[in-house]
Every structure is written in structure tokens, then in C-alpha cells.
């Protein structure tokens, strides 16, 4: 689209938006940039390294990375089949099921945490059975953190993968099937490679969301150092007792998220244009 317009212009690359739009956009950029600049300005850089390497920070960091990776793995294992069913398998009430599976995307995470209690808590629908069968208590446990993160993060992957599957040209799969490939083989060797960019993008987004999860985690899993106190919880609680540490941990989270978004841009654009376009 842009390229066409540039072609019509006398000098290429001088397709500048009107000054008013530029000015408003500049305000919007400042609106997003200023809080982060302010945060960087407030960070006690001299003590940054020592604050970051305190045992409590490192414990929270380690726990966050572990739980968010678990949540990402679970999101892939369960989310890809879910996305496939939602994209390809027409069944009555699919729209309702789809809305249900994406509900936690728009729900306040605290509500998600309360809902998790209602299902997996001690007095929840499955709580007693989980304990009787597996001796497992999810609230106040690391597994509970993973559960809460997966609950909140998986929709990101499902949405991304579902969109890619819908945009996929099914003729390649049909060709594989007519050539004798089983459904499973066609899925594994044709569909999956085709949606790989979207799958990676979805997984990265789910991971970033799991890493930042706060509301459902503190509601459902509580807050205990080394067991359920992830980075966002640690930042929130350190704000009162140790603002410097909270700021340093915030910067680490921002750096990770920023890196994810920078890498995601290429992934996502490249992915959607190749898998979504006609090949």
C-alpha cells in the first residue's frame, strides 16, 4: 500500500504525514516513553548490581523464569490443539467455546484467581479430589503459580495460532493427504511447519504475559519467597520496604519485555505475511 503511494510521489521516501498528525503522534510517543525514562532516572544505578544480586531478587527471578517457562510449555501443549480445533473443526457452540477459552484474556486477573480457587482450591470443584488422588494442593504452591500463569497466558498463544491456521492455504494439507499422509502426519509435517512463525510469536507472547502475571498469582498462589513469590509480586512488595530493589527489578522486567517485543516484531510480521499470504 505504502509502496504504491511512494511510487506516485515525485521523490520516493518523502511521504510525510501532516504536521498535526506528526505532533499528536509525538505526544503519544512521549506518553509511552516518559514513564520508562522516569523509571530509569529513578533507579539507584550505583547499587543496581548489588540490589539485583541479593538472594531475594535472585530467588524471585529464578522462580519467575522457571514458572513462566512451564506455563509456556503447557500453553503450547494444550493451546495448539485447542487452536486447531477452534480454527478447523466446526461443531455446534464453537463460538461459545472459543469465547470461553479466551475469557481470561480480557478478565481482570484477580477475578481469574478467584475463579481458579472455585475450581482447584481446597473447597473448589476439584480441590478435594486433587488432594485425595494426587496428594496435591495447588493454592500456595509453585504448581499453583504455573496454573495461574497458564490460565492467563495461554489465550495469547491460542489467538495467534488460530489466526495463522485460519489464514493457511489448506490445499497443501489436502495434497499431503491425497498423497497418502495420515491426518497426524500431515499436521506434523505440513501444518505445523507452516504455522511455525505464528507458533513462536504466540509462545513468546504467552511467555511474556506469564512472566508479568500478578493478579491471579497473588490471589490463587499467595506470596512466599522461593515458592510463589515471582518477580511482579516481589516488585510490588519491595515498593514499600525497599524501593531501590523494586526499581531495579522493574528495569529487569522492562528489559526482558522490550527485548521480547523487539524480537517479536520481525517474527510476527515475517510470520504473518508468509503464512497468511498465498503461497
Amino acid at each position: 500500500m505504502t509502496r504504491l503511494r511512494i511510487g506516485r510521489n515525485r521523490s520516493a521516501g518523502l511521504q510525510r504525514p501532516p504536521a498535526a498528525i506528526l505532533a499528536i503522534a509525538a505526544i503519544a510517543i512521549a506518553f509511552f516513553a516518559l514513564p520508562f525514562i522516569g523509571l530509569l532516572w529513578r533507579v539507584p544505578w550505583g547499587d543496581a548490581w548489588s540490589l539485583l544480586t541479593t538472594p531475594s531478587s535472585l530467588t524471585a527471578l529464578r522462580l519467575s523464569i522457571e514458572t513462566s517457562l512451564w506455563a509456556t510449555a503447557l500453553s503450547i501443549v494444550f493451546g495448539v490443539p485447542l487452536a486447531w480445533v477452534l480454527a478447523r473443526y466446526g461443531f455446534p457452540g464453537r463460538r461459545i467455546v472459543r469465547a470461553l477459552c479466551l475469557l481470561s484474556l480480557v478478565l481482570p486477573p484477580v477475578v481469574g484467581g478467584v475463579a481458579l480457587f472455585a475450581a482447584y482450591g481446597r473447597r473448589g470443584l476439584l480441590g478435594d479430589s486433587l488432594f485425595d488422588w494426587f496428594g496435591m494442593r495447588l493454592p500456595f504452591s509453585t504448581a499453583g503459580v504455573v496454573l495461574a500463569q497458564t490460565f492467563i497466558a495461554m489465550p495469547f498463544l491460542v489467538l495467534t495460532v488460530e489466526a495463522a491456521l485460519r489464514g493457511l492455504d489448506r490445499r497443501t494439507e489436502d495434497a499431503a493427504r491425497t498423497l497418502g499422509a495420515s491426518r497426524w502426519y500431515a499436521f506434523r509435517r505440513v501444518t505445523l511447519p507452516a504455522i511455525r512463525p505464528a507458533l513462536i510469536a504466540g509462545a513468546v507472547m504467552a511467555w511474556a504475559r506469564a512472566l508479568g502475571e500478578f493478579g491471579a498469582t497473588i490471589t490463587f498462589a499467595g506470596n512466599f519467597p522461593g515458592r510463589t513469590q515471582t518477580m511482579p509480586l516481589s516488585v510490588y512488595l519491595a515498593l514499600e520496604s525497599n524501593p531501590g530493589q523494586a526499581l531495579v527489578l522493574s528495569v529487569v522486567m522492562i528489559a526482558i519485555s522490550f527485548g521480547v517485543l523487539l524480537s517479536l516484531r520481525d517474527q510476527w510480521l515475517g510470520g504473518s505475511s508468509t503464512s497468511g499470504g498465498s503461497r
Binding site: F140, A221, F224, P225, E240, S241
Partner: protein, 268 residues
């Protein structure tokens, strides 16, 4: 000739302005006096922001209703959170008029930051109680029962007043427990025990009363108990100092004190 016309205009303008002043100024004056007399039934107006400790939620909500009857033009907003959170918000510049904390140490942080317009006044006291699940299924009778194996005990971080107090109580009783969670504020403890996900915690007596029997309380003997004293103070930067002082006077006055008593608070 040509000069006379413009000369006339300024004179005419001055004359007209003068006439207008003569005609309208008394009217303006009278209208402003009438409006001020109309408002003098209650001189207080504007908005009032109160930051109050979570444990004051019930009592201050009632006090707000009673205060509004007296001063209908004051728009009261109350922000309930852990005292430590509120103190940190005030120190960070939150536009707050009155701060009511659950302990003196937290108030001191704000005092030290030179953000108070006066000295804090103690207005209530609260003792601690063990909160247990409804009907006390874990059969907790004393502090030492809290260390039973398999019992899920939740508390707050030591930075939060209730976390500090409960640690003091347990220390006095010689009980050591590993909590399942350090909740961000006292509401977190109450919520988790009321929901039946945790078995016990130590909270203010008033918190247990506020659950309306969703959880039960087990008394802590006076020699082991910690009495929390609640200070209240107006914030120096308040945009509405008169309303702030009126609020504090109301809370420390008979009407406010009787509401606080009905919620289980005692006088300091």
C-alpha cells in the same frame, strides 16, 4: 476635525464603562454576598481524600455516611489499603488530605517526611485475634495450635503492621510457624481464611467481626496480645485543610468514636 472623532471615542468608552460599573457593580456585589450567605449553612465544601488502613474499612465507610449528613457539600473519597502502602503513596506525592494509619511507626514515616500539617492524634485501638475457618474445623484453641503440622497459616510481610504484630505475638508465645503466604495486606489473610483456602492467620479483632461470621475468631490472651494504636493526621499539602480538620474532629468526637466502637475498636 478628524482628530476630534477618535478623541470622543475613548471618552465615550470610559463613560460607558463607568456607567456600566455603576449599574452592575452593586448587583455583582449583592449576588456574591447572597451566594456566600446561602453556602454558610455549611462552610465546608470541595473534595476530601482520606487514606485509611484496611482494617478501618467498615467503620470509616459508616463515618463517611454520617459525616456527609453533616457536611453534604464535601465529596469524601476513602482509599483503603495497607498503612505501609498508603504511607508510601503519600510520600510519593499522592494527593491525600487525611491519613489514618494502623500503627504509629507507619505514621512516623510520613511525619519524618515533613508531610503532616500538625501532630498525629490517636483515635482508636485494636487488639489481635486468631482468625480461623468458619466453625473452626482445625480445632484451634490457642496460639500453640497454629504450629500443628499440615495447618495452612497465612500472614503479611513484616513491613505491613499486621505482619509485624503477629510476629511479635508468636514470638511472645514461643511459637514458630512457616507461613504458606505473605499476603500484601490484612484483607488477603481474611479473604484466604474466609474462603477456606487457609486455616488460620492473625488479624485485628475488627477484621473478624467484619466478615459477618464467614470466619471465626479465637481470642489471644492479653499478656501475649499486641494492642495496635491508630493515629490520624492531616496532610500538609492538603488542598482542603478545613475539611480535613473537620474529618479528624468528627472521627475523634463522640459520633465517630461510637461508630468505631460498634466495629470492635476500643479507645486508645
Amino acid at each position: 476635525m478628524a482628530f476630534q472623532v477618535p478623541k470622543l471615542h475613548p471618552n465615550a468608552l470610559v463613560a460607558i464603562s463607568f456607567l456600566m460599573l455603576l449599574v452592575f457593580a452593586p448587583a455583582c456585589g449583592s449576588s456574591s454576598t447572597t451566594s456566600s450567605t446561602a453556602g454558610s449553612t455549611d462552610s465546608l465544601s470541595g473534595s476530601l481524600t482520606v487514606s485509611a488502613a484496611s482494617s478501618l474499612q467498615g467503620a470509616f465507610t459508616d463515618i463517611k455516611a454520617a459525616f456527609r449528613k453533616l457536611h453534604p457539600d464535601v465529596n469524601v473519597t476513602i482509599n483503603f489499603a495497607a498503612s505501609s502502602t498508603l504511607a508510601q503513596q503519600i510520600i510519593a506525592g499522592a494527593p491525600v488530605d487525611v491519613f489514618a494509619a494502623a500503627d504509629e511507626a507507619t505514621m512516623n514515616k510520613v511525619t519524618d517526611a515533613k508531610l503532616l500539617s500538625g501532630t498525629p492524634t490517636l483515635f482508636a485501638a485494636n487488639s489481635l485475634e486468631i482468625i480461623v475457618r468458619k466453625g473452626n474445623p482445625s480445632k484451634i484453641a490457642s496460639l500453640s495450635d497454629l504450629s500443628k503440622s499440615g495447618l495452612i497459616y497465612v500472614t503479611c510481610a513484616p513491613e505491613v503492621p499486621i505482619g509485624k504484630y503477629s510476629a511479635q505475638v508468636l514470638q511472645k508465645a514461643g511459637v514458630t510457624i512457616t507461613p504458606a503466604s505473605f499476603e500484601p495486606d490484612v484483607k488477603g489473610i481474611v479473604a484466604k481464611v474466609s474462603a477456606g483456602e487457609a486455616d488460620a492467620g492473625i488479624v485485628y479483632s475488627t477484621d473478624i467481626r467484619a466478615t459477618k461470621r464467614a470466619a471465626d475468631g479465637v481470642a489471644i490472651p492479653a499478656n501475649l496480645n499486641v494492642i495496635a494504636k491508630y493515629p490520624i493526621a492531616a496532610i500538609f499539602k492538603s488542598g482542603n485543610n478545613t475539611a480535613a480538620e473537620a474529618w479528624i474532629a468528627f472521627v475523634t468526637g463522640t459520633a465517630g468514636q461510637s461508630i468505631l466502637k460498634s466495629y470492635g475498636f476500643t479507645s486508645p
